[in-house]
């Protein structure tokens, strides 16, 4: 049984933001509720008001805008896994969404809610960082874009201000020849280690033009591992493939892995190394 709360049902982002500003800590945005209601049931959080953001209907569209895919924050995981546009332009994201939690969570859980709750053991944030996505935060009549790699500050903490609303996720469509791969490892309900790689090769497909690597779930927040990227960038495909274990070690150390029920720190760092090798090979095979 949940504690009693009052339901607010605004129909615009400005209204949502105003309610959050007015009621502060005693109000919270409610979308799919797949994380929020669990925390409320556990008694870990209490709110006097839930702001039902699903009334702001224009937040659940997926659109293409020049070389970018714009994803509304209220898109459910299920909508994204089935979206023709996402499947065509960002197949790695569609595949990730297909494997979030279970079909019932995917049915009502939203991408925006997932990102804003910032549970350490989650999937989308990691891939969005590797894709160089930007998150649009709005309040009142103000709007700003936060790069995904700066969005996740700490466990359960994002860069959003208390009265800001995440409205859109902007993902650039990767330039070719490129390969994107997200892999996760876990045996509990939530993933224990997640890793995303975005590789762009030169036109001759012989060398790494650009590479982005992000690690999630192992540490308190998903993060980009620039050190491992720098190690691989510019190398020939052969050289990079040969030295990927070293890059994996660097990525593991940089992941800020925490020892917990999902595994010890060194175990997680090792898994990072394994996932980097596999996802890098997968991404390379997409390029050729």
């Amino acid at each position: 049984m949940l504690r009693r709360f009052r339901l607010e049902e605004p129909t615009s982002v400005a209204e949502v933001s105003e309610l959050l500003g007015r009621f502060g800590d005693s109000a919270k945005i409610y979308a799919g509720g797949t994380e929020l209601l669990l925390a409320m049931k556990e008694g870990l959080v209490q709110y006097e008001r839930l702001v039902n953001i699903k009334g702001v209907t224009y937040l659940n569209e997926v659109k293409q805008n020049n070389g970018e895919v714009h994803i509304g924050a209220l898109c459910t995981h299920r909508e994204l896994e089935n979206s023709p546009l996402v499947k065509e332009k960002l197949p790695a994201l569609a595949k990730l969404e297909e494997n979030v939690a279970n079909v019932r969570v995917r049915q009502v859980g939203t991408l925006g809610g997932n990102l804003c709750f910032a549970e350490p053991h989650a999937d989308p944030g990691t891939l969005l960082i590797a894709l160089g996505a930007h998150l649009v935060a709005e309040k009142g009549d103000g709007k700003r874009e936060v790069p995904a790699e700066s969005f996740f500050v700490d466990a359960y903490e994002t860069a959003l201000e208390p009265d800001e609303v995440l409205t859109r996720i902007i993902v650039p469509v990767p330039a070719q020849p490129s390969g994107i791969c997200y892999m996760k490892f876990g045996y509990l309900e939530r993933p224990s280690v997640g890793l995303a790689v975005a590789v762009k090769l030169n036109s001759g497909k012989t060398a790494i033009d650009d590479i982005k690597i992000a690690v999630g779930c192992a540490g308190p927040a998903p993060k980009r591992v620039a050190e491992a990227e720098a190690f691989l960038k510019g190398k020939s495909v052969d050289e990079a493939t040969r030295t990927i274990p070293e890059a994996g070690e660097t990525a593991g150390r940089a992941s800020q892995a925490i020892s917990d029920l999902h595994g010890a720190q060194d175990y997680k760092e090792h898994i990072v190394q394994v996932l980097l090798k596999r996802s890098f090979q997968n991404a390379l095979s997409q390029c050729t």
Partner: protein, 170 residues
């Protein structure tokens, strides 16, 4: 200690109407009521079970607009204007649904606790994908947990039902 922002006048009753197993249902609910509690305790339909309570096991699966949701983690007012199906609504005029028939014939349940959720999830699967491969079936049913059967018979039952349904419609 922060002062509460709520006043007595803030207490809400939300009148909702939805179809339940094909029949119109009209109820007043409070915002914090969970769908599982309304279905089980207020409407007396106890097929859906509270098991893990964290939407991991699927024993509370209900179909809302034909799609599976965890009733334990759904606020009751969310079904306003929608259609809800529970396991009690699957059989028509006393005739078992092919899935129910298949689960009986193929031994798809032992204690039966997970079964209402299993069958409803399988229905949602077959409604969307009438001829799933075993891989597709396993992926869709991944969130419905059974402690008794080891899943083999459940898979057999669903595949058999899929065959029966498609044969019946051709």
């Amino acid at each position: 200690m922060a002062m509460t922002t709520l006043r007595h006048s803030d207490l809400q009753t939300l009148p909702i109407s939805f179809t339940l197993n094909g029949k119109l249902q009209e109820l007043d609910v409070e915002p914090h009521e969970l769908l599982l509690d309304v279905i089980r305790d207020r409407l007396g339909l106890t097929g859906a079970k509270r098991s893990c309570d964290v939407q991991v096991c699927g024993a509370c699966t209900l179909l809302v607009d034909g799609r599976p949701v965890s009733a334990c983690t759904t606020l009751a007012f969310e079904v306003r204007g929608r259609s809800v199906m529970t396991i009690e609504g699957l059989a028509e005029n006393g005739k078992l649904h092919p899935l129910q028939q298949a689960f009986i014939e193929h031994g798809g349940f032992q204690c039966g606790f997970c079964t209402p959720g299993m069958i409803l999830a399988a229905k949602a699967l077959l409604d969307q994908n009438p001829h799933p491969t075993e891989e597709e079936l396993k992926h869709f049913m991944h969130g419905n947990i059974c402690r008794c059967t080891g899943y083999k018979k459940i898979i057999e039952s669903i595949m058999a039902a899929a065959k029966n349904i498609s044969e019946a419609t051709h």
